[in-house]
């Protein structure tokens, strides 16, 4: 993993973690978050990126929970319908 961090921006020794590296990682994170992707990076503070990251992860967790709920209900009814199960199996194998 350290090889990924040895970029041209490193000023000192290899064990240093520079501010620029952190900013670089934060801007990468910013690109992933839909809410912040539209804004230009010089207007979004690191704190905001971190805040939105936390919110986004919480949202994703909630979505997965809802989907788990939905899937658990669907799985209970699907097994009784063997035609659907066969179709799923054939599509995914």
């Amino acid at each position: 993993m350290s090889s990924r961090r040895s970029r041209s921006r490193q000023s000192g020794g290899s064990s240093e973690i520079t501010d620029a590296q952190i900013t670089d990682l934060i801007s990468k994170l910013q690109q992933l978050i839909p809410e912040l992707r539209a804004s230009r990076s010089n207007k979004v503070s690191a704190t905001k990126v971190l805040q939105e990251t936390c919110n986004y992860i919480k949202n994703l967790h909630r979505e997965v929970d809802d989907l788990s709920d939905r899937l658990s209900q669907l799985l209970a009814t699907t097994d009784s319908n063997s035609a659907q199960a066969a179709i799923i199996r054939s599509l995914l194998m």
């Binding site: 704190t47 971190l50 799985l75 659907q84």
Partner: protein, 194 residues
């Protein structure tokens, strides 16, 4: 911050390339990113289905719905972590909850994280010393599995990977739920072809 300006310069160059006709290039580069490719999602979907079928044994018909939903969630997370092939700390942490042998690895990793913090503490890190940043960092560390005491740069890398993985998980589970709810083969065929 000067470093931010150099970032913007690179970003704006990248953005200039993103004209209307260049959408396909973006799609291709997105597919190369981890967790974004179709094959990753297919791998995950297959493993998920197999694992979920194992849950649906005769005993589960008597267990309560929230319990089964919880089992589905745990299974989904576990399969997600195993699809990560142990490249990331968060995936190892999730798998560690299931395979007790992995706890040895976790202890070793925590020691390394501690020494990383000591080295970074010597540097003048204006950004990461801000109390607001530290507070958010702590919250983020709690949200990403296994990253409570991880130093900031590692945490940011883990979070980046974790978010992509979660997005894929949502896509795969949504597709699966639509598939199961679809009912007719025409509906299912439509899902697969889209």
């Amino acid at each position: 911050m000067d470093s931010t300006h150099s970032n913007t310069f690179q970003e704006s160059n990248h953005k200039k390339r993103r004209k209307i006709g260049d959408l396909t290039t973006d799609q291709n580069s997105l597919n190369l990113m981890p967790w974004r490719s179709e094959s990753d999602q297919n791998t995950y979907s297959k493993k998920l289905i197999e694992a979920l079928r194992r849950i649906n044994s005769p005993e589960t018909t008597t267990t309560t719905k929230p319990r089964v939903a919880g089992q589905v969630r745990e299974t989904a997370d576990r399969v997600l972590a195993s699809t990560a092939k142990g490249r990331t700390r968060w995936s190892r942490a999730i798998l560690g909850k299931w395979k007790k042998l992995r706890r040895h690895h976790r202890k070793v990793k925590k020691a390394k994280a501690g020494s990383g913090l000591n080295r970074a503490g010597i540097e003048k890190e204006r950004l990461r010393r801000l109390p607001a940043v530290q507070k958010k960092t702590r919250v983020l560390g709690r949200l990403v599995p296994g990253c409570r005491k991880v130093p900031l740069p590692n945490l940011l890398e883990e979070a980046t990977d974790y978010i992509s993985a979660l997005e894929m998980q949502v896509r795969a589970m949504t597709a699966l739920a639509d598939l199961l709810a679809g009912g007719t083969s025409a509906g299912i065929a439509g899902q697969v072809l889209s």
